[in-house]
Symmetry: C2
Subunit: 212 residues, 2 copies
C-alpha cells in the first residue's frame, strides 16, 4: 500500500470508438471504493463520445482543459488504430501523463498500444489484449511486451489484458492504494469474482474462431 | 436455442442514478455478438442520463418514443428506490414490456425490484442483488424470490444478481438466442471468465462489512 490520500484524481481518456467495458468496468470499481477516487472523463471536447459498441459516454472536459491527475487510464477499442496516428493527441497524452509528481499511467486492452506509441511504456514490461497483441507490440519496440499476464504492474505503469481484465487490474490498484480489504469489499459489492493473481491469464493461449 | 432472428431489438432502460456496470456489462456482451442485437438506450428523454457512479450515458430516445422491442433490460442502482415510486414510469414500463409478442423482460441487480413493482414478475421466480435483496423482495409478494442464484431464467423472464452477474446472464441469453458457441466466442473476445451455471452464486451467503 502506498501513501493514502483522501481521494486520488482519476482521469479516464475517451476517444471515438473506445471500448465501452474498458471504461465502465474499472470506473464502476473505483466508484464503489467509498468516495476515494475523483473520476473525470476526458474526451476530445466536453460532451458525448461514441463507443465502438454504440452508446456514448459524456466527457466532462476536453483534452486541452484536463488538469493534473494522479491516475491516467487509457481504454482500448477499435478507435485506438486511428488514435495512434493522431500526432496532436499522442503529444498531448505524453505531456499530460508526465505532469506533476508523475501519475499512475494505466491502460486496458489495446490502450497499451496508445501508451506505447506515446513513449509512456519505454523500458517497462506491459501487456495488452490477447487478440490484438501483435498490433499493440508493433507500436513500440522500447517496451518489454508480456504475452501471458492478466495485468502487469511495474512501478507506476499498469497495463491489463483485454476488456474484462481491466476490472481485475482496477481492483488490484485499489488494493495498492487503499489496501486489500477495501478492494475485497468493492469486489463483493459488485458481486464480482476477482482474479487477484496477475499471472493467471486464461486467454493467453486461446485463439478466436476464424469467422469472428 | 429459440427462433433465430437476424437481429434482436434490445431496449435498455436508463434512469437517474442507474448502476453503470449493470448497463455496460451486458451491452458490451450483446454488442460483441456480431451485430445480432440492435441496441437502444431509453431514458426519461433523449440525452445524457447520469449514473450513480457519476458518468452519464446518452439515451437514444425518451420513454414515450420507445417502439416495440424484443428484449427489455432494466438495470439496478440506487435510483431504483425513487423509480418504483414514480407511477407514471411504472405504468409506462408495464405497458411497454408487454407489447408485441411479449419481449424477453430482463433485469440486473435491483432492476428486479422495478420489474416486480410493475407486476412484470408476477408468478415467476426471480433473483436480485444480494445486498439489497430484502428491498427487492419488498416490491412484490407475487414473485417467487430466489435468494441463491447467479441468475434466474424462466420463460421470457430473466433476472440476475448484483452488478457483475448481469454479464453472466447476458451471455446465457446470447446462448439461448444464438447458441452456446456464439456466447463462448463473445466471452473469449471480452477475455471474460463466464460463470455458465445460474445456480453457482458466490455471493448468496456473503455479508458486506458493516462500515460499508
Amino acid at each position: 500500500m502506498r501513501t493514502r490520500k483522501d481521494a486520488w484524481r482519476l482521469g479516464v481518456v475517451l476517444f471515438e470508438d473506445f471500448e465501452l467495458l474498458d471504461v465502465c468496468g474499472p470506473v464502476e470499481m473505483f466508484a464503489l471504493a467509498e468516495r476515494r477516487f475523483d473520476i473525470s472523463l476526458i474526451g476530445p471536447q466536453a460532451g458525448p463520445v461514441r463507443s465502438a459498441q454504440g452508446p456514448s459516454l459524456m466527457a466532462d472536459l476536453g483534452y486541452g482543459e484536463a488538469g493534473t491527475v494522479d491516475i491516467v487510464l487509457v481504454p482500448g477499442g477499435i478507435g485506438t488504430r486511428r488514435l495512434v496516428e493522431d500526432e496532436g493527441f499522442i503529444g498531448w497524452l505524453a505531456g499530460w501523463a508526465s505532469r506533476g509528481e508523475g501519475p499512475y499511467v494505466t491502460s486496458v486492452c489495446t490502450g497499451a498500444g496508445v501508451l506505447a506509441r506515446a513513449g509512456l511504456l519505454n523500458g517497462y514490461p506491459a501487456t495488452s489484449n490477447k487478440f490484438a497483441f501483435d498490433w499493440a507490440r508493433s507500436q513500440s519496440d522500447q517496451v518489454q511486451w508480456v504475452r501471458s499476464a492478466r495485468w502487469v504492474a511495474n512501478g507506476r505503469r499498469w497495463t491489463s489484458s483485454g476488456i474484462s481484465a481491466g476490472i481485475d487490474m482496477a481492483l488490484a490498484l485499489i488494493a495498492e492504494l487503499y489496501g486489500d480489504e477495501m478492494a475485497s469489499r468493492v469486489a463483493t459489492a459488485a458481486e464480482y469474482v476477482w482474479n487477484r493473481d496477475p499471472t493467471v491469464d486464461p486467454f493467453a493461449g486461446v485463439t478466436l474462431a476464424a469467422d469472428h
